[in-house]
């Protein structure tokens, strides 16, 4: 008799085995459905035309783990690494322990766990894969506002992990890092958060630590508009269905921001703090009226306002933002160390992120209180079907 339910062999078998092998104590304790919360049961789909965790409502907590590969890691080793990650993520997304998990009892629920994998320009250079880079992808130019630190910047490989539960996130992150260490070392990991499920209506906006509703005016997931802004359709096979990510750590100067009154804060952004509506509108979704003027002749949305500078000047310079907040330890004088783990997904960063950031770099009053201190770019591989491996076509 031959049994072939191994790696990538099907999550049904894995689920059955998990119940027998590892999860029995956990599922037993939580078996009474009354004790299990809704958050544990919600799961995101791992397989599909795109990697998971991008076209999805914000989860509560996140880790951006970035690696530099070892000198001995070649394309074949990359493929073996991706083989492990593919199986790991598929199990974690279902709330199951990964293979060889030393702490399977921590797999207590899916909690909308997601993880996707991307590759920085340095990886393509190290492996001689420059010809596989998607169009428009490469190191970002420097901007005047940047005060970048190495400890938050660059890197060969990104695993962006998120979940609605901090324990689920921590456990999943540890497993993915453990299975990465034969191939790479951790360059940095950045932790962030949005809202606990149930705090605000599900979606892609959260209230950042400056008090603003962040992530508005995004393409709507599931629409053709979203596809055109985010998902790459041509180029090398491995990137089709993928995207380009700009990932920035943006520090907030809260002490000085807090000295502004509500009206000033709203003018800096061009939106109301109460609900994120443009100063010329009532609801968050209302389109800003950049021509509207006060009786005194001044524009309602000032020339220096963030949303005026960031608004698209043509059909191509749009992107999909999915920002989380971060909080590190405060300084001894109490100065907060907080900000955004800011992400922008797009087909072509040269046509989309860069022109917008140049406009913001020239003039955006928000720059007074927000400082990019980390920056990285990653090409995110396309989605996978059952039996496939993440970025298989890139490393085969």
């Amino acid at each position: 008799m031959i049994s072939r339910r191994g790696l990538l062999g099907g999550t049904a078998a894995a689920a059955a085995a998990a119940g027998l092998a590892a999860g029995s104590a956990v599922t037993g304790a939580a078996a009474s459905a009354n004790q299990e919360t809704f958050a544990a049961k919600r799961a995101l789909e791992f397989y599909g035309p795109h990697q998971m965790g991008i076209e999805a409502d914000l989860q509560a907590v996140t880790n951006f783990v970035v690696f530099d590969i070892k000198d001995t890691t070649d394309r074949a080793a990359m493929l073996r690494w991706m083989t492990l990650l593919t199986d790991d993520i598929s199990r974690l997304a279902s709330g199951e322990p990964i293979l060889a998990d030393p702490n399977p009892e921590l797999a207590i629920g899916a909690a909308r766990f997601s993880a996707y994998v991307g590759f920085g320009p340095s990886l393509f250079r190290k492996l001689g894969l420059e010809s596989q880079m998607p169009s428009g992808f490469g190191p970002l130019p420097s901007f005047k506002v940047d005060q970048l630190q190495d400890q938050f910047s660059g890197g060969d490989v990104l695993i962006h992990i998120a979940a609605d539960d901090p324990i689920v996130l921590s456990h999943g992150t540890r497993g993915l890092i453990r299975d990465s260490l034969p191939f790479a070392s951790v360059r940095y990991s950045q932790s962030g958060f949005a809202h606990t499920p149930g705090m605000v209506p599900a979606g892609l906006t959260h209230r950042n630590l400056m008090g603003q509703v962040d992530g508005t005016a995004n393409p709507k997931p599931g629409t053709e508009d979203f596809n055109e802004v985010v998902w790459i359709e041509d180029g090398p096979a491995w990137i089709q269905g993928g995207t380009q990510l700009v990932f920035r750590r943006i520090a907030m100067q809260l002490n000085t921001w807090d000295q502004l009154g509500t009206a000033s804060k709203e003018e800096v952004i061009g939106r109301k703090l109460s609900n994120g509506a443009p100063l010329t509108g009532v609801n968050e979704e209302d389109a800003p009226d950049f021509a509207a003027r006060h009786p005194n002749g001044l524009t309602v949305i000032p020339d220096f306002a963030h949303i005026r500078r960031a608004s698209p000047q043509n059909v191509t310079d749009r992107m999909f933002r999915r920002p989380f907040s971060y909080e590190a330890s405060p300084a001894s004088d109490g100065t907060p160390d907080v900000g955004l783990l800011w992400t922008a997904y797009q087909r072509d960063m040269t046509k989309q992120f860069i022109p917008v950031q140049r406009r913001l770099d020239e003039l955006d009053l928000l720059n007074e209180w927000t400082v990019p201190i980390g920056s990285a770019e990653f090409a995110i591989a396309g989605g996978i079907a059952r039996g496939e491996i993440i970025a298989q076509a890139l490393f085969s």
Partner: protein, 171 residues
């Protein structure tokens, strides 16, 4: 409850009992199976050519009778033995299981680090993370099982100390 319904209920229970017995009666040798799931091989600093490692997984026996894992074979190793961890002289050591590892009828046994495992010694190749090897599990009481895609998972070398008549090595 009316008597008629009660009688019907008794009959149904008898019928259900009979149906439940059918597979047991007919299936002493045929019914049920042995499956191995969630299997992997440890990749560590020890799992290089000439070194050793171990294979883990969950063996589920849904047959009516016990089966015994008595050994195995793989092109990746010169020696394959079924091992257990046990206290020897006050220390946890691993040693070959006399007579093999019994998987009782209707039960599962998990091979895991720090417990029972299929030991591969005198490795002929490096067992690398994310790579796969083929392993044959040799059973008494059922057909052998060949796993063609046992994946190498990174794990610590482990603190098991090997105990054997012929050799003694630190793991």
């Amino acid at each position: 409850m009316p008597p008629a319904t009660d009688n019907l209920g008794n009959d149904m229970r008898k019928l259900a009992t009979l149906i439940a017995l059918v597979p047991l009666l007919a299936g002493c040798a045929q019914s049920g199976s042995v499956e191995i799931t969630d299997y992997w091989v440890k990749s560590s600093e020890m799992s290089t050519t000439g070194g050793m490692t171990a294979v883990y997984g969950t063996i589920t026996n849904t047959m009516g009778e016990d089966v015994v894992l008595i050994g195995g074979s793989t092109d990746a190793a010169g020696v394959v033995e079924v091992h257990e961890m046990s206290m020897i002289g006050g220390e946890m050591k691993m040693q070959e299981i006399d007579g093999g590892l019994v998987i009782p009828a209707g039960q599962s046994v998990t091979l895991e680090p720090g417990g029972d495992h299929l030991m591969l010694m005198m490795l002929k190749t490096d067992v690398v993370a994310g790579g796969t090897i083929e392993v044959l599990f040799d059973f008494e009481g059922t057909e052998d099982i060949i796993l063609s895609d046992v994946v190498g998972k990174p794990a610590e070398g482990g603190d098991e100390e090997y105990h054997s008549g012929e050799m003694e090595m630190d793991n």
